[in-house]
Amino acid sequence: MDGASAVAQQIPLEHFLVLSAILFSIGVYGVLSRRNAVLIIMSVELMLNAASINMVAFAAYASPGAFIGIIFAIFIITIAAAEVGLALAIVLRVFRNRQTANVDELDTLRW
């Protein structure tokens, strides 16, 4: 029996899920607490990773052939990359006009 199957016996699915949950909530904390837009994006990346860990874990443990999760994860990574690129552009645009990347200084639009 090879290592892969061993993993299945030795580490229950829940472990991976809990890990992802922790990563996810750390990411959430980052988004809620960070001021710098770029750092917020990083935190979002953490959340995305958490999501894909879930996907992959489920895919790995689910019935054979159902590897949609893997594909999902691939797509997530793609989207994440695109997202970062786009976000970067917008952050730069804001920075050019406002000389700041701190989101809580952008509150001219309110009420």
Partner: protein
């Protein structure tokens, strides 16, 4: 032309009214001839009806209840039917005669009196309308039509009192008249509906029958009788509704003669006479009438003493007479009441027209500006004297016979009898007073006296006719006269079919009352003719009484105060409440509350991205927590 065709009578003047209203301005002489023509025709048509009635009477005898003829007006099938119809019986006949004749006289009289008035045509139009409504009123076989006409005569009175609308006083007087009577009408209308509720009909005769059959619950009957009487009090200016009548003198004098002496104001008497059986059925019904009548008689007599406006004096005398009629009704002598009504119509109209002629000639109506007109306007003087004396009850003028009938009816009610006797000299006193001050003595206003002149033909002829009637109309109490006129069983039968009443003359009464009358006359003659100035002394000696009387027992003042402070005060309070509480607090308040909620809520939009993100997370957590708490 029989009794069943009586419905034609009101239509003639009504037609005249419509024609005058629409085309009056374009007609020669503003169309007064149409009005008078219609009136004359109506008057003419009354006779065939009277004769038809007497034939029927002779055929059926005293029990003849009259003839009715009606047509449907509107109907809620199975629930409510309103009919318009006429019912001709004795009372009707009397009223017909009075109304048509006096109307005719007044309209003729007005030809000269109202000459050159800016709303001459309008005046005749309304007069016609009034006559029409008055005829409808007396012909009505059911309460609905009666109320209908009742309100219309009120309207006409309102319009005619306010005829000189450019005078503030006239405007106020007309308003006062309408509203005061209207208050009484509230009672009348409620009474009508209450009676309908228990009997299912508006027909007067049927209701009386039902009442006598006892199908009406007592409390309902009592209530409706009292309310009915309220209506009568309002129209007939009985205390406490009497205040409007003196003010009504703001109207043209012919109007005062027709409406506020001869016809409309006696509608109350007529109504009570019609429904007397109901009063009889009710515990204390008649006593109520009696009390009110008596009280009114006294107060009006008192006030009549001190008034200086010639028309007002006559007005109070009218109230006085009306009170007397109610007294008669109160003791269950409708015959006497109707007789008095009949005669009173003539001599009171005469008095007013006479006063009118004086005013026409002098433009004065304060007695202390008049005087010494006897020489200037003899006809007016004489006729006025006749009227005054008849009012005073001097033998053997019509007023005397009628009054005597009433006294006789009171015989078995000593207290009332005595009290009534007391008023006789007073009445005689102020009638004499007003006559003396107007026609005799020195002219107090030479200028007015100078251009005073006898009134033209169209004015004095009616005076003469009425004076004549004032002499004779009383005589019909004698059976012989009645028979001579073709009435079997004397006029009494006519006057009230349900109690064939024969004239009874007790010399004692006659002499006693006449003496009292003469006393009054003499006193007045002494004070105002022989010792002018004594009146001033009298005034000084009885200062408090005098002030009380001059101020009409302060009743008007009190009413005014109530209206100004209580009624309008309440109204203003309600209006304030409506504006500030209901609207500004209730309606607007709701609006502002909503807006304020929005104001509070809008601050969730801080503009800070982290807050937004937090909002999202909180949303998720909330959903999850609730979900867990439900599921887990």
């Amino acid at each position: 032309m029989g009794m069943t065709d009586a419905w034609l009578l009101p239509l003639l003047p009504a037609g005249a009214f419509v024609v005058l209203l629409l085309f009056g301005p374009y007609l020669p002489r503003k169309g007064d001839w149409i009005a008078i023509g219609a009136m004359a025709a109506t008057f003419g048509l009354v006779f065939p009806i009277i004769f038809d009635f007497t034939d029927e009477l002779s055929r059926h005898g005293a029990e003849f209840a009259g003839v009715a003829n009606s047509t449907q007006w509107l109907e809620v099938p199975g629930y409510l039917e309103l009919r318009l119809g006429v019912h001709v019986d004795a009372i009707t006949i009397v009223m017909l005669a009075v109304v048509t004749f006096v109307s005719l006289m007044v309209q003729v009289y007005s030809l000269a009196y109202m000459k050159g008035d800016s709303r001459y045509g309008w005046f005749y139009a309304v007069l016609s309308l009034f006559t029409a409504s008055m005829l409808a009123l007396v012909l009505a076989d059911n309460f609905l039509l009666l109320y209908f006409a009742w309100e219309l005569v009120g309207l006409c009175s309102y319009l005619l009192i306010g005829h000189y609308s450019h005078l503030r006083s006239a405007a106020e007087a007309s308003k006062k008249a309408f509203i005061t009577t209207r208050l009484g009408d509230v009672g009348l209308l409620i009474a009508i509906i209450l009676l309908w509720r228990d009997t299912g009909t508006f027909n007067i005769q049927e209701i009386i029958a039902a009442a006598q059959a006892g199908t009406i619950r007592t409390e309902v009957l009592t209530a409706s009788v009292v309310l009915l009487f309220l209506g009568a009090m309002g129209k007939s200016a009985q205390f406490p509704f009497h205040v409007w009548l003196p003010d009504a003198m703001e109207g043209p004098t012919p109007v005062s003669a027709l409406i506020h002496a001869a016809t409309m104001v006696v509608a109350g008497v007529y109504l009570v006479a019609r429904t007397l059986p109901l009063f009889a059925l009710v515990e204390g019904g008649q006593e109520l009438v009696l009390a009110v009548g008596l009280l009114t008689t006294f107060m009006s007599a008192g006030m009549g003493l001190v008034m200086t406006d010639i028309k007002r004096v006559i007005a109070y005398s009218t109230i006085n007479s009306l009170g007397l009629m109610f007294v008669a009704l109160g003791v269950g002598a409708p015959g006497a009441a109707m007789l008095y009504l009949f005669t009173h119509a003539f001599f009171k109209a005469l008095l007013f027209l006479g006063a009118g002629s004086v005013i026409h000639a002098t433009d004065r109506q304060e007695v202390d500006q008049l005087g010494g007109l006897w020489s200037k306007m003899p006809i007016t003087g004489v006729t006025f004297a006749v009227g005054a004396l008849s009012m005073a009850g001097l033998p053997f003028l019509s007023g005397f016979w009628a009054k005597d009938e009433i006294l006789h009816a009171l015989l078995d009610n000593r207290g009332v009898f005595a009290l009534t006797l007391l008023t006789l000299p007073v009445t005689a006193f102020y009638m004499t007073r007003v006559f003396v001050l107007t026609f005799l003595g020195e002219p107090k206003d030479p200028e007015a006296h100078a251009h005073a002149h006898e009134s033209p033909l169209t004015m004095w002829v009616p005076l003469a006719l009425l004076a004549g009637l004032t002499f004779v109309s009383g005589l019909i109490v004698f059976d012989q006269v009645g028979r001579a006129l073709g009435f079997p069983g004397g006029i009494g039968e006519i006057i009230y079919a349900h109690e064939p009443e024969i004239f009874h003359f007790s010399v004692g009464n006659a002499i006693g009352s006449s003496l009292l009358v003469l006393l009054g006359l003499a006193l007045a003659w002494y004070i105002y003719m022989l010792r002018p100035g004594t009146s001033a002394v009298a005034v000084r000696t009885f200062r408090p009484v005098y002030t009380l009387l001059v101020n009409k027992f302060y009743i008007d003042a009190v009413y005014q105060a109530i209206v100004d402070n209580v009624v309008l005060g309440v109204a203003r309070m309600v209006a304030w409440f409506d504006r500030n509480v209901v609207n500004d607090t209730g309606v607007d308040g709701a609006g502002y509350t909503t807006k304020f909620a929005g104001y509070l809520l809008k601050y969730q939009q801080t503009g800070r991205l982290p807050n937004y993100a937090l909002g999202i997370v909180v949303g998720v957590i909330a959903l999850a927590l609730v979900a867990f708490s439900i599921k887990g």
